[in-house]
Symmetry: none
Subunit: 193 residues, 4 copies
Amino acid sequence: MMNKKEKIVQAAIEVFKEKGIEKTKISDIVKLAGIAQGTYYLYFPSKLAVMPAIAEVMVEKSIAVVKNEVKRDASFTEQLVQIVDAIFKVTMDYREILALIYAGLASTEHIKEWETVYQPFYSWISEFLKEAKETGVIRESIHVERTSKLLIGLIEIAAEQIYLYDYRQDDQAEIQKAEVLEFLKHALGIQEK
Amino acid sequence: MMNKKEKIVQAAIEVFKEKGIEKTKISDIVKLAGIAQGTYYLYFPSKLAVMPAIAEVMVEKSIAVVKNEVKRDASFTEQLVQIVDAIFKVTMDYREILALIYAGLASTEHIKEWETVYQPFYSWISEFLKEAKETGVIRESIHVERTSKLLIGLIEIAAEQIYLYDYRQDDQAEIQKAEVLEFLKHALGIQEK
Amino acid sequence: MMNKKEKIVQAAIEVFKEKGIEKTKISDIVKLAGIAQGTYYLYFPSKLAVMPAIAEVMVEKSIAVVKNEVKRDASFTEQLVQIVDAIFKVTMDYREILALIYAGLASTEHIKEWETVYQPFYSWISEFLKEAKETGVIRESIHVERTSKLLIGLIEIAAEQIYLYDYRQDDQAEIQKAEVLEFLKHALGIQEK
Amino acid sequence: MMNKKEKIVQAAIEVFKEKGIEKTKISDIVKLAGIAQGTYYLYFPSKLAVMPAIAEVMVEKSIAVVKNEVKRDASFTEQLVQIVDAIFKVTMDYREILALIYAGLASTEHIKEWETVYQPFYSWISEFLKEAKETGVIRESIHVERTSKLLIGLIEIAAEQIYLYDYRQDDQAEIQKAEVLEFLKHALGIQEK
DNA sequence: TATGAATGAGGATTCATTCAT
DNA sequence: CATGAATGAATCCTCATTCAT
């Protein structure tokens, strides 16, 4: 049984996703969470104050999807494909929330928390790159920490562009994935036999 | 002497930058623009309807900076360095307002206009890549239109990461620029003598 | 045709009188005033901010009633009777408002305005006492300004006691009036032939 | 060691005095009293229900001060001076809370209790007047019960006027006391050899 | 075109009160 | 008796939008 705070965060994610940030009413969130209006304010002092908690959950979800999709015993290239697939999937599913987290965090003092929240994701990718670098699969000159951020950022951007610009999403998504993958392979300097 | 529409757009940029989207009132904008409340609605049908016009101005500024910084007679790699410099500069200067535009457009039906507005920027980069591809400076497999979007997106993301995560901005910015440049060179498969 | 501000003040007096301060909603006031909810806030920044304006109107009403009831060509004692009658009437009619003006003013920063607002009433009574003192109708040792305040205060208090304590108001009011009149006559040292 | 009910009353006096009626929350009161929110309702059925208890404590304080200041073996006039001094002192010290009580009682059905609560004070003054009347020190026509209320009301009003209207309180208070005393002496028709 | 007073729907927030423990 | 987490009704105020001038 979830505690009330978790219920609120889950409900908030759901409703924000459904309605967007402006249209969402606290009453929608608490209705879905199955609690009273006032109870919300026992846990969060304002409408926007859930944002950091949501951000945390979303990043956890992203990591979980990536960890689940990626087969660690596959080849590096295969794993890269899986990572792109996973990030595209998460971004497509949750792009509205991700956008509003960004806007929500940006419009408050919570923006500093973003780095902390994303850190586990970066760390996982860093580790992935580090192994590949050590086995010579990617170029020697890669700086794994900084590259992990560029890599995640690039794939997210690529996924968002699909959503923004293309309406025939299904095939365009595959084309864009292929493009970003090709881009990434060269960027990482993959040398796989 | 600016006409009223321009005054509104300039004032809106100023106020949105100052207060963020939620906190900005039409009354703030018209006060700064020196016009009456009702006059706003002669030019824009709603609060968010000014966003595309703002976006347009901002993208024009971005393109102007890029065109100004890039020397078209330099080598491809030199021009790439200049492009990265230019986009970093614009993003650092206007990142707040750019985030707002994105959020503002995203929260309305105006989001489709984003592509139109950004198109001249993409076109310019596409042309730049096309020439390089024709002269064999970058790899043959590049799809210039899609790559132009990835390239701009990647550089912007890289610049934003500096702002988000690093406080010692001056030296970190240079390191990040170098990293993204290296990343890009490999991604594009540069073959320069 | 009254302007909007006056309409609001009149409606506020009416509704406060009817419902008391806690139970009164802004929506009640604007409904009675025949204006929109938001219009209220064009003229007064908060619910309690009408209070000084109400106070002013109430004191004006009090003075008007007194001036209307008192026949200036009657004897001093007769005029005193009329003053007592007038203040009792006003206090009975508007005691709820008077109480909440007092509470409302007291709970804000507006309390200093009270003196200004009551001043015309004091002045009128002062003048009345001054004439009587000059013609030797009341004792020589009277300080007219200070006594005017005591006199008004005493009559108001006497009227309020009736309201507070006695339910058979009609006859009790007459007894209390007689008592306060007797009290006052001695206090003023009336010497009327 | 105080019992819980007393703690609540004391805390309520403190908080109401500090914040006024509207701004005071039950949570403030219980926090200061050092008890749980629910415990309040074991002793008082509503927020305003504590008002009569506060009133009682305040009136007890008033009576105690009067009894303490007044020397029963002094002459009537001297005792009158002492009564005026005592009521001025109490009113100056507690005028805010007294105003609140009045407003608080007035805004509920508890107002009827005010008479009961004040009764001991009235009785004490009545007794004082009765003795004076019997010994011929004050005029025969005095109705002692009704006059006791007028007397207390008049002195309180006089004291409040000092607070409201005069900032140089020290000397003004003495002048006002002298004025009200003179007023009272005549009103009561004192005949002291 | 320009004005700015007027509108009124809408929702975040508060807080007195309850009740399961 | 005591607790304090939970409740949810109640309302002030905001502010985008309109429209008579």
